[in-house]
């Protein structure tokens, strides 16, 4: 018990993200059940699991959208995320990409990125905000990273599905977060796009911690990262993709039903 406590405080201090015994239920249905896991700084982590395993709810808890019934979530050591709202958490340095690509469809790609710029986000600051050269340069930089330089002036709503996914990732990059939560980034993408996305995420993970939720095993393999398997709201297995794929319980959950 004492070792566990020591271990926890250890992890609290060094990890970028630490979930400790998080449970959430909706009308009696347990979406998360005593979920605990740790992400280290600079790590890229893939989270897989069947439908209803609680992947998205986990993201909701980390980003402050859903308050857990019990348990704690720590960011960068000591910040308890369960006590803050989405905007605060976003400004702390956690970026989130939704399962369904969510961009500001009636605004241009450029404006989408501008809105996501890191910086003071108070009402009055925003009202009088003007772009300086450094910020423009940064936007141009990210446009390049997400391969949308040519589309800068297009309405985001007119982009293809894959491009929207990229734009959303680009918006995360503009926030310059310490931790990126990416929910099914390649759903509905062509193979070529999927491959490109994997490369993009690997590039990003060089400078950021990334948590990717994904179904697509090929894509997960391409990420070359540690994998956590969720099932019924708690961790079923953890390790490299190969280890996990050979885990008996994982096989049961995925195939045995």
């Amino acid at each position: 018990m004492t070792t566990h406590a020591n271990e926890s405080s250890q992890q609290e201090l060094t990890s970028i993200l630490y979930l400790d015994g998080v449970s959430v239920s909706f009308d009696g249905f347990k979406a998360l059940n005593n979920l605990s896991f740790v992400v280290e700084p600079g790590e890229m982590r893939a989270i897989i699991g069947p439908n209803g395993a609680g992947k998205t709810t986990m993201m909701d808890v980390i980003t402050g959208k859903t308050k857990p019934d019990t348990g704690e979530v720590f960011f960068k050591g000591g910040i308890d995320l369960t006590k803050h709202d989405e905007a605060f958490i976003a400004n702390l340095g956690i970026g989130r990409k939704f399962q369904k690509p969510t961009v500001f469809e009636s605004q241009t790609v450029f404006h989408n990125l501008e809105l996501s710029l890191k910086g003071e986000k108070g009402v009055m600051t925003t009202l009088f905000a003007a772009l300086n050269d450094a910020e423009v340069a940064r936007i141009i930089d990210v446009l390049g990273t997400i391969r949308l330089t040519e589309k800068a002036g297009d309405l985001a709503g007119n982009l293809s599905h894959g491009q929207k996914q990229w734009l959303e990732i680009g918006m995360l990059l503009m926030q310059d977060p310490d931790l990126l939560l990416v929910d099914e980034p390649v759903a509905g993408m062509t193979d070529a796009e999927t491959e490109q996305t994997a490369i993009l995420l690997r590039e990003i993970s060089a400078t950021h911690s990334v948590v990717v939720v994904e179904h697509d095993m090929e894509f997960v393999r391409a990420l070359k990262s540690k994998v956590t398997v969720l099932h019924e709201g708690s961790v079923l297995a953890e390790g490299s993709l190969d280890t996990v794929q050979n885990n008996q319980r994982v096989i049961e959950v995925y195939l045995g039903r």
């Binding site: 709202d85 976003a90 009636s106 009402v123 925003t126």
Partner: protein, 392 residues
């Protein structure tokens, strides 16, 4: 190509100086010309001239201009931030009551009972002294401050609770309706001290100018037009700034905006309060021109009608809201006079027609057509097009 885009974000002041959204300059030009020509034509041209604007029309136009400002305020929150208020008439009416109270105090001892302090209805209800909330309304600056403060504070308090609790969509619309309905019932009560059903009426003068004199009417008209112009500029300022883009972002994807680090509730609150204050100003200008303020301005039906003006004109296009307010009210004036038995069919039909065939309103739909024509001519997209409206 890309370079032109990068130059557009030099802050709201620069945006406002370098370019108003589609048709904005023309719109301001029309307002300016109207503010100049209408009084001149009324004063200088002989009554027989076809271009003479009779005083009757001046008051009518003044009324429409106030409605237009109200429509503008609704468009600011509905068109840009996706907040559908079915209770904006409440802010309009509160602004109106603040002005009405000043006008009431101006009557002084010229009321029927000749009481120098108490308005007639209080004398008549056996009130012996002025209630505390009437203090200060004999001073014009104080009354004007209240015109801004009362709607603003109500909007702040209401918005503070509603937006923090994340009441959205239909739920928000319904509770704004509940708000205005509760105020309606409250102001109907004679015990409230606002004149009950009869409201405030029988005004004599404003800042010493007789309200029934043509000159005063013209001045009020011009003041209303200026207020509308300034209101338009304020709305442009907001919508062209980064804040405006945040609002649109909230309208289109509220969660995304939150996860981008914006405190959505503060943004909504800010724009809601600005909008309420604009509505209050509209109400304050409206009251001396129509000569009465009464609780029926609070009725939910009135507020719904305002939303309809905006929808007819084009949600999310600022001067579309103004156009909608003018068209619907002009239609109402014209039809109630010319087809008293059938005008409701026409008005109702107009609303149904607009929603079915002009889903973006007159301005939005015609802008889309123009866009299509342009696209046919040259294959490049244009970023200056009005924002398309996405449904929640």
């Amino acid at each position: 190509m890309a370079n032109t885009i990068f130059k557009t974000n030099k802050g709201p002041f620069v945006s406002l100086m370098t370019g108003l959204p589609g048709g904005g300059k023309t719109f301001l030009g029309i307002l300016l010309v109207a503010a100049l020509l209408v009084p001149l034509s009324n004063l200088l041209l002989p009554e027989t001239s076809p271009f003479h604007v009779p005083t009757y029309l001046v008051s009518l136009m003044g009324k429409y201009v106030c409605f237009a400002l109200l429509a503008l305020s609704v468009d600011l929150i509905w068109g840009f931030a996706g907040i559908l208020s079915l209770g904006h008439g409440a802010f309009f009416a509160l602004g109106g009551y603040a002005m009405g109270m000043y006008l009431m105090r101006q009557i002084g001892d010229r009321g029927v009972y000749g009481n120098p302090v108490l308005p007639d209805f209080m004398v008549f209800l056996n009130w012996t002294e002025l209630p505390w909330y009437w203090y200060g309304f004999d001073m014009f600056p104080f009354a004007m401050l209240m015109v801004l403060l009362v709607p603003g504070v109500l909007a702040f308090v209401f918005g503070w609770f509603a937006f923090r609790s994340r009441v959205t969509g239909v739920y928000l619309s319904i509770i704004t309706q509940a708000m205005t309905y509760a105020l309606l019932l409250a102001f109907f009560r004679n015990d409230m001290g606002f004149g009950g059903n009869n409201g405030l009426t029988d005004f004599k003068d404003l800042l010493g100018f007789d309200l029934q004199v043509t000159g005063t009417r013209l001045s009020l008209f011009v003041a209303s037009v200026i207020a509308l112009g300034l209101g338009y500029l304020v709305c442009c300022f907001i919508t062209q700034s980064k804040l405006g883009r945040v609002l649109v972002a909230i309208r289109d994807a509220e969660s995304r905006t939150r996860f981008s680090g914006y405190r959505v509730e503060y943004y909504k609150l800010f724009v809601f309060v600005v909008s309420a204050v604009l509505a209050g100003i509209a109400g304050a200008l409206y009251v001396p021109q129509v000569g009465i303020i009464n609780p029926s301005e609070f009725s939910p039906a009135n507020s719904i009608e305002v939303v309809i003006w905006v929808a007819v004109g084009g949600r999310g296009t600022l001067w579309g809201a103004v156009l909608g307010a003018f068209l619907v009210n002009w239609g109402k004036s014209y039809f109630t006079g010319s087809f008293p038995e059938a005008w409701l069919y026409m008005l109702g039909g107009l609303f149904v027609f607009t929603t079915l065939f002009l889903p973006k309103g007159i301005v939005g739909t015609s802008a889309t057509w123009i866009e299509k024509l342009k696209n046919r001519r040259r294959e490049s997209p244009d970023i200056g097009a009005p924002l398309s409206v996405k449904e929640e």
